[in-house]
Amino acid sequence: MIRVIVKRLLVGVFVMWGAASLIFVIVRVAPGDPASLLLGPDAEPEQVRELTARLGLDQPLVVQYVHYLGDVVRLRFGDSYLFNRPAMAEVFERLPATAELMLASTTIAVVIGLGLGLLAGGRPGGALDRVVSACTIALQSFPTFWIGIMFILIFALSLRLLPSAGAGTPQHLILPAVTLALPFTATVARLTRSSVAETMREPYIQTARSKGLTERQVLLGHSLRNSLIPVVTIVGLHMGGLMGGAVVVENVFAWPGVGTLVVDAVANRDYTVVQAATFLVAGIVMAFNLVADLAYSQLDPRIRVDGDAA
């Protein structure tokens, strides 16, 4: 097991190196020289020359790249010209809000998705199954930002039940969290449905039924537990998608998280913040994928990560 973890961690380090390099390439390929971009639109030519020298941008690309990697390892991406402070500090400050939103959404998605999936998968092909399947297709097709705006229209402007934007109280969390959770709920429901439908064909379900257990007991006591394994994995693997969704949803509801920060930074060409935030997001996504991978092999003894075959 330890060997597997070490191997996965090495792959993780490699992926982070690749991610950092990709960010380097995008920022260097983009038009405009980084020094004037970093200083912002109001910079004097004198300042630009001075910063170019200080950042080492007059050196060969390879030298710059090595310096850049050294900085990345220490999570130093330079100062944000918008906020006048280290970019990473700004990103870290916004992280808790995004984490709160994602946690709330994941909880909603797992609870409701599992429920719907159980209802649909317990009797595959039944009326309930078809209704749930149709709903999940619809949920995955609506653009989240539009759903968010429609929620604002209905619950904030018409019914005046919830605030339309901002953060601070639990009420502020409801609309963004539900909006972000909807497509994920559909994913969890679809996966749970097929997983439950599959376990319902297993011999031990037949045994449980012939013991005289009620359908409810069979479903919750015998089928659910084994159906949970793929669900746990998808939650981990879906963090990337959820992060991407959060970027959009945060902007709909002016939620003060990493998503609004990134879009503001891109719009204002604040490249240190863009780099820092992108790198951190990649790191978080990678960490979740790693945990999901390892959890998968731990939960189901039939599955072993390669190199650790039973």
Binding site: F142, P143, W146, P183, G240, M243, G244, V262, V281
Partner: protein
């Protein structure tokens, strides 16, 4: 994941009805295609022209020039129906171009990696690992935001991750087809490797690629709308559903139609592509499950 275990008799009973229902997506998509191609020729729209007398008119109102704004006007007095029609053209154009670029690139890379295996395949897998560490929309935001606004930049930004699924599907197809007897026979007969790839492997990727292309088209159109909604990528002169939805946000309390209607148009399109994609996947997808992220 999509095929449910329904008894055969039930399938037959519902067969005729389902066959007709199954054609709905084709009809809807044909309508969208027609609107995107013909609409701009019929309806005149100038995205920079603002008529302040016509601001925020409700659907069905008369405009100052004497016509009717069937779907209302926005905060600058521009017709919402015209924005829907022109937006359809933008969405279809970007969707088709991105899917074309990413399917060609993805298929080429995937087939070659799957057939030759070895270090090429390893490089591909590790490269995909790196790209997957970024949420697709975030990478698109960063790429599109770094360059001058244009349709081409949006297509490149969206293709940056869209090619991955094509590469994966074609790689697995190539991996399985390369072990078949006719490929061995061709190899033994001394057919050049390039010909083997093109004549004996590539044709088998077409089915899965077509099925995947429909689902990717839906994702790309959604992503483009998301980018435009955030104000990234497309130039201000371009008309896009995402942009119209974003513009309407500040008038939600008084003019709901500006944001609501383009969203309906977009959702209806995505739902129908999704259904069509699932159908195609069930038919050609070789066990690949169709789903939208």
């Amino acid at each position: 994941m999509t095929a449910s275990a329904v008894p055969l008799t039930a399938v037959r009973r519902r067969g005729t009805a389902m066959r007709w229902l199954g054609r709905i997506p084709y009809v809807v998509l044909a309508v969208y295609g027609a609107v995107a191609i013909v609409g701009p020729l019929v309806i005149d729209y100038n995205p920079v022209l603002t008529i302040l007398d016509d601001r925020l008119l409700a659907p069905g109102s008369r405009v100052s020039s004497g016509g009717t704004a069937w779907l209302g006007t926005d905060g600058l007095g521009r017709d919402v129906l015209a924005q829907l029609v022109y937006g359809a053209r933008t969405s279809v154009l970007i969707g088709v171009s991105t899917v074309l670029v990413s399917s060609v690139v993805g298929t080429a890379i995937g087939t070659v990696a799957g057939y030759f295996r070895g270090w090429l395949d390893t490089v591909l897998s590790r490269g995909i690992d790196i790209l997957l560490a970024f949420p697709a929309i975030l990478l698109a935001i960063v790429i599109a935001g770094s360059f001058q606004r244009s349709v081409l930049v949006v297509v490149i930004a969206l293709s940056a991750t869209a090619w991955i699924s094509f590469a994966r599907v074609t790689r697995s197809t190539a991996l399985s087809v390369r072990e078949r007897a006719w490929v061995d026979a061709a190899r033994v007969l001394g057919v050049p490797r390039r010909s083997i790839l093109v004549r004996h492997i590539l044709p088998f990727t077409i089915g899965p690629v077509v099925a995947l292309a429909t689902l990717e088209f839906a994702l790309v159109v959604l992503a483009e709308a998301g980018l435009s909604f955030l104000g990234i990528g497309l130039p201000n002169s371009a008309v896009s559903w995402g942009q119209t939805i974003a513009n309407g946000k500040q008038y939600l309390a008084t003019a709901w139609w500006i944001s609501a209607l383009p969203g309906f148009a977009l959702s209806l399109l995505i739902i129908n592509i999704g259904i069509l994609g699932d159908q195609l996947t069930a038919r050609y997808g070789r066990g690949q499950t169709g789903r939208l992220r």
